[in-house]
C-alpha cells in the first residue's frame, strides 16, 4: 500500500528555490480564487481556490472530467474564467498576457508539432519568442534529446515527444512551469525519467503546477496537492496529510496460527476495526497497533504469521474524497 514511491526516490538533491525566499513574503507563484468556468450548461469548474508558493511542486489531482485541465487553461490565459481571479506572480493572465506568457512555460495535453521539422528547428523557433531563453544545446542534453536534435518530429517516440514538449515549456526560462498530464501514455521507465526531470526543474527554482491523475506521481513529487472533483477542491494539503485524513490510520494484516475470538482484538483500545478476509485477519487502528495486537494474540497462544503493515495513502484519500477508485481512472 503506497510504500514503493518512497523507496524509489533518487539521490538527487531537492533544492528549494533560492528565489522563493529572496522575493517578498507575499509572492505566491499562483493564486487562484473562486474560479468558475462553464461551457453552456456544463459546469467545468465550479469553485476552485488554491495558492502555490514559489518553488513548490503543486499537484492538481482528480478523476477524468473533474475540471483539472479547465482550471489550468484558465490559469495560463487560454480560457477566460466566468468569475474568480487568477494571478501568476501577481499578474493577471487576461490583462497582462504578454508578461504572463514570458514567465509561464506550458506543456499542454495532446499538443503535437509538424512532422517534418527537426527537434532543433522547433526549439530554435520557440526560443526566439522569449526575452531570455535557455540554450538549446544544454536543454536537449538535460532532457536526453541531444542525439535527436536533427531528427524529424515524426520519428520521435512517445517519450521523446513528451520530453520535447517539456523542453518547449522550459525554453523561455519560465518562473512557473505548468505541466498537464505529462506522463500519461509513457511507459514506466519514461515516467520515472519524467519524474526525475520535474525534480530537476524545481531544483532550478521553477515553480511547478502539475496536473495528473496518477496517485503515485503526486505522492512522489508534490509538496502539496489539491484534490479536485466535480469542479471543486475537495481536499488540499500534503500527500501525507491527505492520506492521514482519509482513513482511521494503520492496518495490520496477518494469518493466525489458530482460531481466536475477534473480541481478543476489538477489546484493545488501539483497535478500531477487525475484519476477516479469507484466512487472513485485517486489523485497523492507531497508536502502537502492532505491539498491542501481537501481545494480545500471544495471550491466547495464537501466533501471527505473514504479518503485513500498511498505512493509508493518497489512493485511499482519493477514494475517500471523490468516492471513486483512482485505479479506474488510471487509463483513459
Amino acid at each position: 500500500m503506497g510504500t514503493s514511491a518512497i523507496a524509489a526516490r533518487p539521490l538527487s538533491v531537492r533544492l528549494h528555490s533560492p528565489r522563493a525566499s529572496a522575493l517578498d513574503g507575499s509572492g505566491a507563484a499562483v493564486e487562484i480564487a473562486q474560479l468558475r468556468k462553464t461551457y453552456g450548461s456544463l459546469v467545468a469548474v465550479d469553485d476552485v481556490s488554491f495558492t502555490v508558493a514559489q518553488g513548490e511542486i503543486f499537484g492538481i489531482l482528480g478523476p477524468n472530467g473533474a475540471g483539472k485541465t479547465t482550471t489550468v487553461e484558465c490559469a495560463v490565459g487560454l480560457r477566460t474564467p466566468d468569475s474568480g481571479t487568477v494571478r501568476l506572480l501577481g499578474l493577471d493572465p487576461q490583462t497582462d498576457r504578454d508578461e504572463v506568457h514570458q514567465i509561464v512555460g506550458v506543456q499542454l495535453q495532446s499538443s503535437a508539432q509538424p512532422d517534418k521539422l527537426t527537434v532543433s528547428e522547433i526549439l530554435d523557433m520557440y526560443r526566439s519568442f522569449y526575452r531570455e531563453p535557455a540554450d538549446v544545446t544544454e536543454l536537449t542534453e538535460v532532457l536526453g534529446l541531444a542525439s535527436k536534435r536533427d531528427d524529424f518530429y515524426k520519428s520521435l517516440s512517445g517519450g521523446q515527444r513528451q520530453r520535447l514538449s517539456v523542453a518547449l515549456a522550459l525554453i523561455g526560462r519560465p518562473k512557473i512551469a505548468v505541466l498537464d498530464e505529462m506522463t500519461t501514455g509513457l511507459d514506466p521507465q519514461a515516467r520515472r525519467d519524467a519524474w526525475a526531470l520535474i525534480e530537476g526543474i524545481r531544483a532550478r527554482g521553477v515553480t511547478v503546477l502539475l496536473v495528473t491523475h496518477f496517485m503515485e506521481e503526486a505522492e512522489r513529487l508534490c509538496d502539496r496537492v489539491a484534490l479536485v472533483d466535480h469542479g471543486r477542491v475537495v481536499a488540499l494539503g500534503s500527500p501525507a496529510s491527505l492520506a492521514a485524513q482519509a482513513s482511521g490510520g494503520k492496518t495490520v494484516r496477518f494469518l493466525p496460527s489458530a482460531s481466536f475470538d475477534d473480541r481478543v482484538l476489538t477489546d484493545l483500545p488501539e483497535v478500531s476495526h477487525v475484519e476477516r478476509r479469507g484466512q487472513h485477519v485485517v486489523v485497523t487502528g492507531s497508536g502502537e497497533l502492532v505491539n498491542a495486537v501481537l501481545f494480545a494474540l500471544a495471550g491466547v497462544s495464537v501466533e501471527a504469521r505473514e504479518v503485513q503493515l500498511g498505512s493509508s495513502n493518497l489512493d485511499d484519500a482519493f477514494l475517500r474524497f471523490t468516492g471513486e477508485d483512482s485505479s479506474a481512472s488510471k487509463e483513459n
Binding site: V76, G77, L78, T80, D98, H101, Q102, V104, V106, L108, S110, S111, A112, Q113, P114, K116, L117, E121, I122, D124, M125, Y126, S128, F129, Y130, L168, G172
Partner: protein, 259 residues
Amino acid sequence: MTTLSLSLPTAPKRAAFGKIVQNEARLALRRPARQLGSIAIPLVLVVLFGKLGTFHQAVPGAGGLTLFDAYVPVLMVFSLAMLALMGLPMPLASYRELGVLRRLSTTPVPPSWVLAAQGIVQLCVALATIAIVLTASIAAFGERAPVSPTGLAASIVLAIAGLFPIGLVIAAAARTAGGANVLGRVAFFPLMFFAGLWLPRALMPPALLDISNFTPLGAAVQAIQASMLQGFPPVAPLLVLAGYAVLFSYLARRFFRWE
C-alpha cells in the same frame, strides 16, 4: 483570442517572425507534393496549349482573341486558386487539429503569426508560378507582353486579397485537415469552371458569362485578361474582387477558431 486578428510584428519580435517563416518555408520544401500541383499543372498546360496550333487561331467573334490568349490568364489564376483554397486552409486546419495553434497561444507570440507566415510562403510560390507562366507564354509561345503592367499587378493583388480570405473561411468551416481538403476541392472545381478552365470565357453563353463575372476567379480572369490585351481593367471585376476580400475577411475574422 478566439477571433482572427492579424497584427504586424514589432521590431523586437521580427526575429521571431523570421523564424516562423523559415520553418514554414522548410515545411513547404519538405512536402513538395503539396506544392507540385499548383506549380506543375499550370506549367504543363501552358506548354501543352502553347504547342497546339489550334490554340493560336482566333476564336470566331471574339475580336482576334486566340484560345491561348484566353488560357494564359486562366492558368495564372489557377495557381493562386489552388494555393488559396487548398494550400492555405489544409496546413492551417492541421495545425489547429494538432494543437500547434493552441500551444502558440501560450507563448508571447500570437498564433496569427503562423497564419501570416504561411500566407507569405504560399504567396511566394503563387507569384513565382505566375511569373513563370507569364514569362514562358511570352518568350516561348509568342504571347504579347501585358498592355498594362500596372493593371496586371493591381488585378493580381486584388485576386490575392479576394481569394486568401476564402481559404481562411474554409479553414474556419472545416474541423480537420481532411475536411479542409474536401471543402477546398469542392470550392476549387466550380470556381475554376467559372474562371474558364474547361470552357473559356470567350466561348461561354451570355448567361454563364454573367455568373462568371461575379465569381472571384471569373472576375480575376476578366481583369487579368483585360490588362494583358487591352489596358487597365474595367472597374467591375476589380470591385467584385474587392467585395470578396471585404466579405470573406469579415467572415474569417468572425468564425476562425484557433482551437
